[in-house]
Symmetry: C2
Amino acid sequence: MLVVKKFGGTSVANKERIFNVAERCIEDYRKGNDVVVVLSAMGKYTDELISMAQDINPRPPKREMDMLFTIGEQMSVALMAMAMNQLGVPAVSLNAFQVTMRTTSAYGNARLKRIDTERIFTELECRKIVIVTGFQGINKYDDYTTLGRGGSDTTAVALAAALRADSCEIYTDVDGVYTADPRLVPTAKKLKEITYDEMLDLSTLGAGVLHNRSVEMAKKYGVPLVVRSSMNRKSGTLVKEDAKVERMLVSGVALDRNADRVAIIGLKDEPGIAFKVFDCLAKKNINVDVILQSIGRGGTKDISFTVDDGDIQETVEILEANKSRLGFERLESETKIAKLSIVGAGMISHPGVAAKMFETLYNENININMISTSEIRVTVLIKSSDADRAINAVHDAFGLAE
Amino acid sequence: MLVVKKFGGTSVANKERIFNVAERCIEDYRKGNDVVVVLSAMGKYTDELISMAQDINPRPPKREMDMLFTIGEQMSVALMAMAMNQLGVPAVSLNAFQVTMRTTSAYGNARLKRIDTERIFTELECRKIVIVTGFQGINKYDDYTTLGRGGSDTTAVALAAALRADSCEIYTDVDGVYTADPRLVPTAKKLKEITYDEMLDLSTLGAGVLHNRSVEMAKKYGVPLVVRSSMNRKSGTLVKEDAKVERMLVSGVALDRNADRVAIIGLKDEPGIAFKVFDCLAKKNINVDVILQSIGRGGTKDISFTVDDGDIQETVEILEANKSRLGFERLESETKIAKLSIVGAGMISHPGVAAKMFETLYNENININMISTSEIRVTVLIKSSDADRAINAVHDAFGLAE
């Protein structure tokens, strides 16, 4: 059996944890399995690199930022190989150049395109554990790129797909996927199984367990994922197409605090204006989320949307730079907002789910800023300071508590 | 003009020094020159990486050690590119994969074989300053290798040769090449020019300014070197074939404390035995220096030699492992010894130079452990505790003081 195991930064944050991960991988190896391990940078090392860079250049070129970032995972994989060797098992660490992990060109937010599996299979044939740097790739210029938030999950899923692995295990600091983040909602319950689509909505909306790109890729290539803890032996949550979910109306509640809101006030009310706005943001790799467009009044309209809080400054600058071309009156931006979402494949056939959520928030006296819905999801924007109260109230209202 | 500039770890040890280096490079760039910069890891970062590794595995695999080491230079070059960018100059950092810096296979002690200059020339044509990681390469397996002590100097010289640079400037924490290490000999004098051969002997013997491999390579390809300080604007020392040295008998005195001595006692006195001994060390990439072989007595003989102090443990282990094959009685090893050398192209035609050195040490009551000579050099092994006294006495005796 070929197993891909991915461990995040907290799982390799120090010597003891590195050996803990090494031992878990060796257990699998000793069963006769081929083991490929994907690692993130240790603990808060990426944050340290960011502050080193910003001390030198408050707005470092993204290409050089990626060149700096990639050393974090290279450190993790080299130390892990040393730990396994110390435990008597042959292991080899490989970076994005050695695996030829090709991505699109976009620094800081690249997408994986192609993985050359030859080197990995060669090493596995020598009965080595293969340890691969997560999060990083190389573009067509042979420059390092990074995959953005949750990039190591994506690396693991992409490797599992490319190697046709039998299993892809994502180890994290939680036991699995819960009906809500247990740190926020003490009564949250662990799910045994969940579908890709539900997981996709939960991860997109800030459940914080898996990144949406990795789930999208797992769905596309049919890679079954196991989400479990590196700290204990609990069984975790299985993410797959035909998950046997106890068919509840709502299977989870997600909260994302990493959102900022931008409003473009007084845009010309003419065809194609929304395209122009979001095209100039997309070209700069700004991910735009919930979008709301007002009905036109007096020849103008307003467009509001959310972006990741790390992108707010750049978003405003890009829009200001294109002000005359886009023709708007002014920008408003609001930070400290939260996205609260309910997700469930069951809600397709049950009207009134959204209404129940709004009612719950109304009873808690929480104001809803914007609303967005899909077939299996309802999202609202609220003040960040209301978020904890809101998620607990909604979680209770849908009977998700243990 | 195309200029290669190499800066060591102390020159990029912190933010201020990084900007200092960036500014010096930009000065050259603004004159219209093409500038290629080679950097070492910051300050003591390589030592930090060693202790991280050893905390996990006291004897880490060399391949993984190189994987870990190479992040040091990658950090330096990325931060330097950010600093230059902050100062308004386009710069790009490149690692060994991006420059295709091919080396022999030997991890930890590889030799450069081939450099692909295409990427560097492309970036120079875009009027960027190109910043290349020193010390590192990749072998035929596409694994990282490192070049051993002084490796970044070698990278700089090899790049200068491959790019047919007009000048190769080695920036260090001293003003140039002195008649002796000024930290040990306060009266030491700076040399304006020196030949490759003299520099080679001085660097091989621990003058600590340039590594011998880099000087060998500079000599081979006729790359004129300038050794100068990154901290001041003094003119430094020019190293070239036809240096106009004031023809003194002795041009410098060198001291190397990083040596340990091994004695193989009771070797069979048969042909080829010395070959067998040094061949099995060479295969493990142990550099052996001063060798002394005793005259055979009763069918056996002794061989003594020095190795770098980092290699002493491995040397003893290799010899013990081959004890039955080599057939010797026992090993003795001695640490804390020093190599003191006088170097000078002038001594070829002047007998009595060695005798004068021995007399000086005799007058200081310093015992000589082993002696080795070449045409332009006399080396003695002495106790490390006698070293400071010895170098000053010899420096004075040959009239080198300022």
